[in-house]
Symmetry: C2
Subunit: 560 residues, 2 copies
């Protein structure tokens, strides 16, 4: 069978020129991620016991009749090669969703696996995310093509996309591609949604008796795709370290200047892992954790007051500066704001908003009061920024500026009342895009390479519907365990538009988990004392290069 | 004479706790900056020929009757100790103006000089900038007190301030402090203004026959304090590398995502060195250099159109993403905006701005048209954000958002006209506080340590009115030259309120200088091709740790 080795695709996925690389980029090209010992010698796949699902096993069993219950697997050492090396595999790989440092190394690990254990195999990269599968847009990944991306940040080797394979027509398109390219497997590198999609694709291919298997890999800087067997999603380590570097610098500036409160909003919409990890790394005066705000059903006024209380306490000590961390998704966690936004969406859908403000009377009394209490600029953002469906774009609301403005108002009130005598100056920051495509840390480089290598081994062993899992991460990478976790075992069901939809539940910050408990035990001290910690820039060599993040260490029971 | 070894001061300058340091912070504590050979053995001060001034030597001679014309000096090796080691010096040191990475190392170099060459000397740090001199607020800098700050970012060891010693009363206060503390010398670590102030203080002390000498050190991340003998101000190297790390990451994200234009505003109000350096490090699609905008007398419309042209050209190539760098001071360089702001200031001073907008007719026709062409949010910022004098706060204008909005409008026009068919989404960033207090690079650590060491030697040798200068920076630090440049030789005169004021002229980006010429020779290529370069995080060890910045290398004639 002859196929074109490259087709379609935008200019943006043209290969990189190593000649323009910076010295640090170049120095990473030849970094060899250390490999878990189990992947060094001969190994085989060992099946565990059959699995169930996180929730509503009955519904998951119905949605995945072929795959439900299949065991997770471990890759274990054995005496001789267990997989046929003479088999030439034809594998596709796709990057799905937002960028995360390390994605290129998953592809490198997968490529190197095939080179070593199934020489002559073909690796095709689908361009621009799942749309590349549906439209059959791909490029052949060769040794030369891959080289400039080794240990480098970004997803630009084949680029990513946010499309999903959802409708019957789209599944058919994916099937057409798999058949046309004669694929033995597809590796889907993505977050919770993309891995759910990977599992649906695996089920669909199995049901259609296709030979194409599907393996997922856990990617997201947000850190909200994890389970017992998948201890961390890749990219979280690097992104948090980049944000923490900046926060640490801002802290030293705050203390040196002595007159600014820096409100730093951090990427991470659904869960507050990034904010929590950055707090553990830097020791801010305040860090808001969305999950806690939600559990305590805090109002915006309560959140504002708690920040203001800290500022007043510090002012009494002569400290008129500080650093406050805010998760991007904060307002999604505040019930009254959700309420306001849904009322606004209805009003905006039903008619125009008059300049005189009579429309405000259509709001319920609580929402009306809340809307009136918001800073003018935020009111405008709520009314003006709409998505294509006409809804308020919550992600565009500059929460850090909103809080600065509300704290300012509250401090003015306290000043008039005589309970605050300081001077407050807020500075706003948003850290997001800076962290998604940084050069991956040694941890992410190594972890991703192992994930990709594992994905290759799992496909070689004929597995499907698994997510590559690398564990025992509190030890040296030599001792890391490698396997594949049944994707159906991570699933629960959500009712959407009257239908059961399988979902991998997002892993939220657990208020009784070790990272939050650690934070909760020290935050009062951090509020008033200056315990600022400056992580500094990520180092790739020397004794500090191998540190992993606090969240992972604490979750694995490592004291730190 | 007995004096209290510490007095006054806010809580914010309490010493740091090394116990909370991150591994990278800790790893820097014991870094020993390599020393120029000339400072290792015995050395003496050698006088050059007498000096003049950059401009209006007559006026400078009148303003500095004691110091004008004094030679610059070189520190050169000699056979035996040239300075009396039995002399115990009493030295004060002050940090003045904005933070810059490396300030702590200037103090460390100064301290270590005194320990080694004038053991038993006393080093006092004035707290909170020049105000600390005037109010006699200081702390004794001991070995233990200093240790946690070695090779660390920030100015928090004694903090900084923006006060100036200006009035006769203030000079008297400084004199009182110098006499009370029996100071042999004061080291002023600061930018152009602070070094001008240092020279005035040196002149004043000399005129009053005080024994207190004054030596300056060149500090500013902005890079606009430099001359032939002072090739670079400290902090520029680190700050630019931190910004360039972030820009590089954003570029990889832009290329990976393929749908955003990132408009990055960079700190640096008076000159565009930071933007130029970051451009040389990262290869953006557009970088605006204020000095060029000014020389070409560009209007805001022309600036907008030039960005829009690039976006359209890229759209034709299927590239709907990019990165655009904007110096913080851009609008200070656009004559028509300066004109508008001065008209606004007058109108705002003379009365209220009516909501109906009748006040706009008080603007000249050009300014009226310009104001009307500005995005609504920027109009509001111009009218609402005022400084204590009621003037428009130019620094608060979010130029990056303004340009996004104006480019959007222009692209819409071109779309309607049919000359543009892409989709434009802008993302705004401001990088500033993140870079002022980062851990200093090896270059800044070493350069600052040498500056401080040199300042100690100059005071020991009885010098005053000099700025410590370390040169020959294109070679290994062993071969760096060390000396002191007559501050009066850097001066020019400005008329302010009918009076001659001495100033060290800010070093602007020279359009015929090597850095700009290099940029100008490649920017058209960068505009359309993706030559993105990602500098990555600053490394403190390994082969990439010793790279200096492009601006310095190019100015010194090193090809790169």
């Amino acid at each position: 069978m002859t196929i074109a080795l490259m087709n379609g695709g935008a200019k943006r996925s043209c290969s990189r020129e190593v000649s323009v690389y910076s010295p640090v980029q170049s120095s990473r090209l030849d970094y060899k991620p250390p490999m878990p010992s189990v992947l060094e010698g001969h190994f085989k796949v060992e099946h565990g016991s059959s699995t169930s699902a996180v929730g509503d096993a009955g519904a998951i069993a119905q949605l995945f009749p072929k795959l439900f219950g299949q065991p997770s697997v471990h890759i274990v050492p054995c005496a001789a090669a267990a997989f046929k090396e003479e088999v030439k595999l034809r594998i596709g790989v796709v990057l799905s969703g937002g960028q995360a440092p390390g994605g290129h190394n998953v592809i490198a690990g997968l490529f190197d696996y095939l080179q070593k254990h199934a020489p002559g195999s073909l690796l095709l990269g689908f361009r621009g995310g799942p749309a590349g599968i549906m439209r059959c847009k791909y490029v052949e990944i060769t040794s030369e093509f891959l080289y400039p991306y080794r240990n480098q940040g970004g997803f630009d080797i084949i680029c990513s996309g946010r499309d999903k394979i959802e409708t019957p027509e789209q599944f058919k398109q994916a099937e057409d591609t798999a058949v046309k390219l004669d694929l033995d497997g597809i590796v889907v590198i993505g977050g919770d949604d993309s891995n759910t999609n990977a599992c649906l694709l695996a089920e669909y291919f199995r049901a259609r008796n296709l030979k194409t298997h599907v393996i997922g890999c856990p990617k997201t800087i947000d850190g909200d795709l994890k389970s017992k067997e998948v201890p961390i999603s890749f990219g979280f380590d690097t992104a948090c370290k980049i944000y923490a570097e900046m926060i640490g610098n801002i802290m030293v500036d705050a203390r040196s200047t002595g007159k600014y409160y820096h409100f730093v909003r951090l990427m991470g919409r659904a869960a507050s892992h990034i904010t929590l990890e950055c707090a553990l790394q830097t020791h801010p005066n305040v860090a808001l954790i969305g999950e806690e705000v939600s559990v305590k059903k805090q109002t915006l006024r309560q959140v504002t007051n708690s920040i203001t209380d800290t500022i007043c306490k510090r002012a009494e000590n002569g400290q008129h500066y500080g650093v406050i961390l805010i998760p991007e998704g904060l307002i999604d966690f505040i019930p009254e704001i959700q309420h306001l936004i849904s009322e606004l969406n209805e009003i905006l859908a039903s008619g125009t908003v008059d300049e005189e403000g009579h429309w405000r009377h259509k709001l319920s009394p609580q929402c009306h009061a809340l809307f009136d209490s918001l800073p003018h600029s935020i009111q405008e953002e709520l009314l003006l920024e709409r998505d294509p469906h006409g809804n308020v774009q919550v992600a565009k609301i500059e929460t850090e500026k909103m809080l600065i403005s509300m704290v300012e108002t509250e401090l003015l009130r306290r000043k008039q009342e005589g309970s605050y005598t300081g001077n407050f100056k807020g500075q706003s920051h948003f850290l997001g895009y800076e962290g998604r495509c940084g050069l991956p840390t040694n941890f992410d480089s190594t972890y991703c390479y192992a994930l990709g290598y594992a994905a290759g081994a799992l496909l070689h062993a004929g597995q499907t519907g698994l997510i590559a899992s690398v564990g025992n991460l509190s030890t040296s990478s030599k001792d890391w365990t490698v396997g594949g976790t049944a994707l159906t075992s991570l699933m629960d069901v959500e009712r959407r538009r009257g239908k059961n939809k399988p979902v991998i539940k997002k892993a939220m910050v657990e208020l009784d988990g070790a990272p939050f408990k650690k934070f909760a035990s020290v935050r009062d001290k951090w509020a008033v004392e200056d315990d600022y910690r400056s992580p500094g820039p990520i180092q790739f060599s020397g004794p500090t290069a191998e540190e992993t993040n606090y969240t992972l260490k604490l979750e694995l029971g490592v004291s730190c």
